[in-house]
Symmetry: C2
Subunit: 467 residues, 2 copies
Amino acid sequence: MKEWINELNSFFSANQVLTEPADRYSYSFDGSFGEYLPDAVVQVKTKEEVVHVMKTANRYKVPVTPRGQGTCLSGGPLPVKGGIVLDTSQWPASIDVTPDDLIAVVSPGVLTASINQEVEKYGLTYPPDPSSAHVSTIGGNLAENSGGPRGLKYGVTKDYVIGLELVTPEGEIIKTGGRTIKNVTGFDLTKLVIGSEGTLGVITKATLKLVPKPPAVQTLMAVFDEVELSGKAISKTLTSGILPSKMEFMDQASVQAVENYKPSGLPVDAAALLMIELDGRAEAIKAEVIQVEKIMKELGAKDIVVPKNEEEAAKIWQARKQVSPAIAKIKPTKVSEDATVPRSKIAEMMERLKVIKEKYNIELVVFGHAGDGNLHPNIMCDKRNEEEMIRVEQAVGEIFEAAVELGGTLSGEHGIGTMKAPFMEQELGSAGLDMMKRIKDSWDPNGIMNPGKMFPERDQKLVLRNE
Amino acid sequence: MKEWINELNSFFSANQVLTEPADRYSYSFDGSFGEYLPDAVVQVKTKEEVVHVMKTANRYKVPVTPRGQGTCLSGGPLPVKGGIVLDTSQWPASIDVTPDDLIAVVSPGVLTASINQEVEKYGLTYPPDPSSAHVSTIGGNLAENSGGPRGLKYGVTKDYVIGLELVTPEGEIIKTGGRTIKNVTGFDLTKLVIGSEGTLGVITKATLKLVPKPPAVQTLMAVFDEVELSGKAISKTLTSGILPSKMEFMDQASVQAVENYKPSGLPVDAAALLMIELDGRAEAIKAEVIQVEKIMKELGAKDIVVPKNEEEAAKIWQARKQVSPAIAKIKPTKVSEDATVPRSKIAEMMERLKVIKEKYNIELVVFGHAGDGNLHPNIMCDKRNEEEMIRVEQAVGEIFEAAVELGGTLSGEHGIGTMKAPFMEQELGSAGLDMMKRIKDSWDPNGIMNPGKMFPERDQKLVLRNE
């Protein structure tokens, strides 16, 4: 047994440090791609335990990879250099709401969806809504800066975090931000840590900003014969003075996949669907629905569905949520991207994706959060087919290239992790990447905090094949 | 003439490098406290010029302090270590709006208020509204992460910046973020730089996020006999499902100061005034006004004023804007603080301020953005009176202590600069401060970028006297 494992064993209860092959294997993969076996898993439940792990790991120069529920789509919790997986999912859930301050203080292992269940009792809401909210931990959301459909109106995880407690790579506890909405005391370490994918420390507590829960919600669905028209309808809506809470897009392939998987009555002959949600006061929504219907008609929507009640609306959103499981049935491997472009470039990006699909003869499905330009091109493939995977690798590279060329970014909400690291310099330039690395090196001089993540190694390339 | 000045002179046009005593003197002060003479002023107009200044300064290890219009209330643009003041206020104004993307790309010298004048043509708005918007540059707002009344609903400058072009302390041009709302590619350098008070580089371009301009606005004013009741009315409103765009507070001393200065018809016998602005769709505001009136009455407001038209509303906001100039008439020196507490602690903070006022026998006036806990305690004094200034120094120290004890922060929106640096460790702890310094040192190894700002020097104390 390695000396550092003995040292952890002598500090922790017997069942907190896992070193059996079966346990290690269950922590070797996440919602993305690839398998990497850790040497040990430590299930931490207090900040003092995190401090102990970090100080030990830093002394022995052992890698530490924090992990929530492992729903990550970019490899954040994969222990690519072995070492310790620091599992925060067993941390006792604590959601401490102060309604008068419009804040909630949460522990890292809390399931994201349970935050809303709790704060709704006070007429408040925590807006970020990643599709995995019912299974993902807030700790994972914080590390990856998760998005979701409501990002359009409400922003992403980062926009709702005003304070953190963090254990640094060297095992010091620091406090960033606080309990106030406004705070300009020093550098904004809170927003630096959110989205840093576990490379700058371990989040042990977070103070979240809440907003009043909108009293009313209304869904609409618009059906288009041409993808381009749906793109124009998005722009037109967003410049009409209306900011919907959601504006989701599905292409024909994703509509057909859903209807083959769990029929929801979606129009299978549509080239594109827009699913829109308006929220606010009932008086305002009534007027906005009329305005949005008018815009959709003017832009050539061939049908507009306005659900009459909550059940009908829920059915539409349920269909949207089925896209991911539905397309996963098409082929055994799903490569899920989230390249994001400025809103006005959505139609152009769709065109580029069509060309890439044909060029590499791949099965490409496009859906996503169109209102903020955050598309989800998904490639359905079979990782056992090496020839196909080479084509997929090339296609993914071209998707990133297209997004960056159109003024967009590699990742809107899934993160960089292992898969997008090789493309970082393309977007950031070498000087930009260097400034990020300087921060990482100054905080983590031994390079033990989630190594192998987000910064490319020399000549690193995207590889989706087993080597 | 110093060698580095000769080198700048050989690169720049004659009128861009100022070394005459009169010119240097005009750059030796800002909207805060203290005077520091720079060795030279360079009026830059392009990013290439900034690169040249930074590379030269870095080679000669000469301090560089960026400056916009100098309206800063915390000493950001003061060249406390001499060297170069880099004046961006002469930079040609450029506001490039892309309405379909809901963004505007701006140059650093643009006046903040002119951004809204431009984007309103497209039915859009840039929400941050520091009181100095009509005279301050966006570059200064970005460096200081300026707030304003609308922070309550809309957040602060940082919440509206999605991309930057930055010249690093070593003279490299980097791009942070981009033109998309969602972006998780690498560390969030954008939000690290915003509010870093010019210590991490020079911002040469910014991409701002815009939102649809709310179609309707309604003002209300509530008059209270007790400060505590006004605090409770704020909390009650914010947990009722309503999020006003502004919720401003004035204490009796500030009401009386305004009425002595420019009579506006405010009730001089009121213990506290709340000025509230609701925005959104007309249909929704109508219902919200009734709800807010009800809350104010329930909480014991003795009078509620609902302006009947824009002129009447403008008069109320004009009175609020007069507080700063009005109190400046009371005594020659104004020490303006912006200690911020969680909303639920506003009443308690007011009580603490009253005790401090009596203990040190100082003239203390309190007003500010109560809806987000961002109060502005202002001390009126005379800097030529040494005995008084010692009392003021002690009172300021206790104000910071009270804010931090109540879970708040030293500064909500004005920044740390020179005056609050001695109190940084009190809020952040030594480990937290150390992690900030590591970033600074890794980005600016020669320590030339706005030195003397925000990080305290050994045993540094607040000194408001001329020494």
